[in-house]
């Protein structure tokens, strides 16, 4: 299984988190599960990078967190803010442009 997973390029984790949260608020574990699920287990988000990334996004004001309670345990749900939605669009555009350019070069060069 480890051989199947892909290293995430620098900076893409933020984009994935924003995209994941765009559908509905989730807590940290669910975010990682969802990314893993959608990528058919190809992408595995290390918790060691996930949580710092979540906290960083909170600080930038792109997502916000509130306490929820699940199984009598306080968990934290994250939700996209307006600024986060804008940021998601910006980053998505940038990403698409980048990948398009990169694949074009790979095809033609």
């Amino acid at each position: 299984m480890p051989s199947r997973s892909i290293e995430l390029p620098q900076g893409t984790l933020d984009l994935l988190i924003l995209r994941t949260l765009a559908l509905k608020p989730l807590h940290g574990w669910a975010v990682s599960e969802r990314i893993q699920q959608i990528s058919s287990d190809l992408l595995r988000v290390q918790q060691g990078t996930l949580y710092p990334a979540l906290h960083r996004l909170v600080r930038r004001g792109w997502i916000k967190a509130w306490g929820t309670s699940e199984n009598k345990r306080r968990a934290k749900s994250y939700e996209l803010t307006k600024a986060g939605r804008r940021q998601l669009e910006i980053e998505r555009d940038a990403w698409e442009k980048l990948t398009a350019v990169v694949s074009q070069i790979l095809r033609t060069a």
Partner: protein, 873 residues
């Protein structure tokens, strides 16, 4: 955005505990969900937990990064580190107190001595634009000063001053004060205006001008009751009435001269003011802004040449040398200053080395702990920050303690009141100096806190967790550095000890110098007769004779008089001619010290009579002139003739010779200082004196032991003759001797304090090193003892390194001392800077101290029980 960011930072900072527990909950929730998922997929519970942990990585590390991502980490970690550090510092009191003590002594002592030296030598002069001020050397006369002022263009202004005692009467007991005889230019040259009123103007500074006086602030405060309406009031000075026209501000002082009041020389002492050959004024010059000292010097030299041509009698061979004022003030203390600065630097080096060594030993001792924490996910930067927090905190504590030591030290040094410092009444602990010294030790703390932290953080975790984290590979280079530091400390301490030893030896030599008289039980009192009431010599002689008769009539008292007491700082010299010799050219006659006496002075002072006899009662006015010379006089001028019966006279230009017959030769007396050569001297009776201005005298009073009320009784006798004569400078001859070596004593004490400080610090250093090694090798020593090693073997094992380093330190120190102590030659009295006895004694002392410092921890090693040593792993 920015505000939002700040709000989050602040909120999380205030809700730190809540935020922490939230983070805990969040991560734990994650772990639980993951485990639950694995279990659901068919894993056993324990397998799931293991897998989960493995995947998640270091929990602490994640938390750390989350905190950092949240962006409050700087303040938060600082608070955390501070709490952690305070706790660990309190848990190791020996380490902490050693560190704080080292820094306190290093910072404190250095600040104290630096403050004193700084106030005395480095502070800018208390005059505006001090760089423009020059002092003229040697002293000059009023007419010369006037000519130079008139004929030069380089100076914005200039002035001269002569300090002469005056009597201030009218407020209870008469008081002798220091009067500054000035010209109108002096105060303006120094650039200080009176606080009240005005200074003496040029048109008042003439012969027969109004008797006006400007008083100093202390005089105004002490004798005039700080009266704000004092201007225009009159005071009595030496029998004349002066009108107060100004009060100088507090803190004002002449560059070198003590002065209570300022009067015009032309008004107060016209006879001297008009004489071109009375070279008695200190002169000060203020350059015009665009003129360099060299240009001014050239111009003055031109005038000097003209004066020499015009007045060869008094001016030939004279020339004015202009010296920057600051240089003139501190020039003669400069060697002492250099040596003290050197000492300060050395002690600071030693203290820093000690501090560095402490930090290194500590970091090695804690390396294992650090590595474990690193393996638990603490990041390098974090560990380094923690070490830095510790060394910085320690430096701060040390600095605070140093502040206290500095404060006490400064007070102590000022209380010692060395002669050279007497003038400087306002010596404070200098905050700037403190900050500089403190910054240096802080930097040391940072640097040496960083070095080991860096290598500890880099260290191999696996290695640390291996069975024992003790003597590991990286230890070798560090122990080399430590050895170097210990050796350097010992060497530096030795240099200081040698310096102190040499000064002490010189001082002992100085104290054992025979002054040529016996000061025991001799009391001295200085008197000066005012010219107004004693204008002529017979009146003076009459007063002296009556006073001596009355004092000698007191029970158990013998008294005599002399014009200038030995070691009291006054000196009158005259040129002499010797009967039967060709008359030397004018201005080249030998110059000798001249003293006047009355009564059995030589007998009271126990100055031996080497040939001939003492003065007799019949040697008085109207009788043949007689003189007694000292042995130096005979050696220098009458080496091959019988001095007794030879005739001498003062070299005079305008009178026929009045020969004095030498009737006796007395032993040499140290007059200018115990370390100064004795000048040829001529003693003559006061009653045969022909200089009316010799109105001053000191009574020397010998008793069998301390006599209560003696001084009061003598004062009564003086005032029964004349109740307006001030009595001051009541001193025992013993005190005069002690006072004359005060500067040397101060030098010795200071360097001694430094040397003891250095010795202590170096001792602590080597002690710390050996103690640390014993700690580190408890296990090995236990095994060694278990294998049957004798006490001797264990001692040798422990002390071997100490001895090696001590030896090396001593050798290097001796080399350094020989190189450096040459700089203090001028401070040493009859001791060579390479005095072998001092070098050997000091080397032995240092070696003994170092070995003692090694022995204490080594003895602890002896008491190690093999079982405990092995078990403690």
């Amino acid at each position: 955005m920015l505000v939002h960011d700040l709000l989050i930072r602040l909120r999380t900072l205030f809700r730190r505990y809540a935020a922490e527990s939230e983070l805990d909950d969040e991560l734990r929730f994650h772990l639980e969900r993951q485990v639950a998922k694995y279990v659901k997929s068919g894993m056993s519970e324990s397998e799931a937990v293991r897998r989960d942990r493995l995947e998640f990585g270091g929990l602490d590390q994640v938390k750390d990064e989350c905190r950092e991502a949240r962006g409050i980490s700087f303040v938060e970690t600082l608070v955390q580190d501070l709490r952690y550090t305070t706790r660990t510092l309190l848990h190791s009191p020996v380490f902490t107190s050693c560190g704080v003590l080292t820094l306190a002594l290093g910072i404190g002592a250095n600040t104290a001595i630096f403050s004193v030296v700084n106030s005395v030598l480095l502070n800018p002069l208390p005059y505006p634009n001090p760089q423009e001020l020059l002092a003229g050397r040697p002293n000059d006369s009023r007419p010369n000063l006037e000519d130079i002022q008139r004929l030069t263009n380089s100076f914005a202004s200039s002035g001269g001053v002569n300090i002469t005692p005056m009597d201030f009467t009218g407020n209870g007991e008469p008081v002798r004060i220091h009067a500054a005889y000035v010209d109108a230019g002096l105060l303006a040259t120094l650039g200080v205006q009176p606080m009240l009123g005005r200074s003496i103007s040029a048109d008042e500074d003439v012969k027969g001008g109004p008797r006006n006086v400007v008083v100093s602030y202390p005089f105004w405060r002490d004798f005039l009751g700080s009266d704000p309406r004092v201007l225009g009031k009159s005071i009595r000075l030496s029998g004349n009435t002066y009108t107060i026209i100004g009060v100088m501000p507090s803190g004002f002082a002449l560059p070198k001269e003590p002065a209570d009041i300022f009067v015009s020389l032309w008004v107060a002492y016209p006879d001297a003011a008009s004489e071109r050959d009375v070279h008695f004024m200190h002169t000060y010059w203020r350059l015009k802004p665009s003129v360099t000292p060299a240009q001014a010097q050239a111009e003055v030299a031109q005038v000097d040449r003209r004066l020499a041509e015009q007045f060869p009698d008094s001016e030939k061979g004279r020339g004015t040398l202009l010296v920057p004022l600051h240089e003139w003030l501190v020039g003669n203390i400069r060697p002492a200053l250099l040596v003290l600065f050197g000492a300060v630097g050395l002690v600071l080096l030693i203290a820093c080395a000690n501090f560095a060594m402490l930090l290194m030993a500590r970091s090695v001792a804690r390396q294992r702990e650090l590595m474990i924490r690193a393996s638990l996910g603490a990041r390098n930067s974090r560990l380094i920050r923690q070490r830095l927090t510790e060394s910085t905190l320690l430096a701060l504590f040390g600095g605070a303690a140093g502040l206290v030591v500095a404060k006490i030290g400064t007070t102590f040094l000022v209380a010692l009141k060395p002669a050279a410092l007497l003038r400087f009444t306002a010596i404070h602990m200098d905050l700037r100096v403190f900050l500089v010294v403190f910054a240096i030790s802080l930097l040391t703390g940072l640097l040496f806190g960083l070095l080991p932290a860096w290598s500890a953080a880099r260290g191999d975790i696996a290695e640390a967790l291996r069975e024992n984290a003790r003597a590991t590979g990286s230890g070798a280079s560090r122990s080399l550095l430590r050895n170097f530091l210990v050796t350097a400390e010992l060497a530096l301490a030795l240099i200081l000890l040698v310096g102190a030893g040499l000064l002490s030896k010189g001082f002992l030599h100085l104290r054992s110098v025979n002054p040529g008289f016996n000061p025991t039980n001799v009391m001295t009192i200085y008197l000066q007769l005012p010219a107004t009431r004693y204008p002529e010599i017979p009146l003076e002689t009459n007063f002296r004779r009556q006073l001596l008769a009355r004092v000698n009539a007191l029970p158990g008292v013998e008294a005599a008089m002399i014009s200038d007491l030995p070691l009291a700082g006054n000196y009158v010299g005259h040129r002499v001619v010797i009967d039967g010799r060709p008359t030397p050219a004018v201005g080249t006659e030998p110059e000798v010290q001249t003293l006047s006496v009355m009564g059995d002075y030589f007998c009271i002072m126990q100055i031996p009579i080497r040939a001939g006899h003492d003065f007799r009662v019949t040697d008085r006015e109207g009788e043949p002139l007689v003189a007694i010379v000292n042995e130096s006089f005979v050696r220098q001028y009458l080496p091959d003739q019988n001095p007794v019966g030879s005739r001498i006279d003062w070299a005079r230009r305008d009178e026929a010779n009045k020969w004095m017959t030498i009737i006796g030769v007395v032993g040499d007396v140290k007059h200018s200082g115990l370390n100064q050569p004795v000048d040829p001297a001529v003693y003559a009776p006061f009653s045969q004196n022909d200089e009316a201005w010799r109105r001053f005298m000191s009574l020397v009073i010998k008793t069998d032991g301390p006599v209560a009320g003696l001084v009061e009784d003598v004062k009564k006798q003086v005032w029964s003759l004349d109740n307006q004569i001030p009595i001051s400078d009541v001193q025992s001859m013993d005190d005069l001797v002690v006072f004359s070596v005060a500067q040397q004593r101060f030098n010795m004490l200071l360097l001694g304090i430094f040397a003891v400080l250095a010795l202590t610090l170096a001792g602590v250093g080597i002690y710390g090193m050996i103690a640390y090694r014993v700690n580190q090798r408890t296990h090995d020593i236990g095994v060694y003892i278990a294998l049957g090693a004798q006490h001797r073997d264990v001692l040798r094992l422990i002390i071997k390194d100490g001895i090696k380093l001590t030896f090396l330190g001593v050798v290097l120190g001796l080399v350094g001392a020989v190189a450096l102590t040459r700089l203090m030659v001028s401070l040493l009295f009859e001791v060579k800077p390479t005095d072998p006895a001092t070098l050997i004694a000091v080397a032995l002392l240092l070696a003994a101290a170092a070995l003692l410092a090694c022995y204490i921890p080594a003895r602890r090693a002896l008491s190690i029980q093999p079982i405990t040593a092995l078990r403690c792993e």
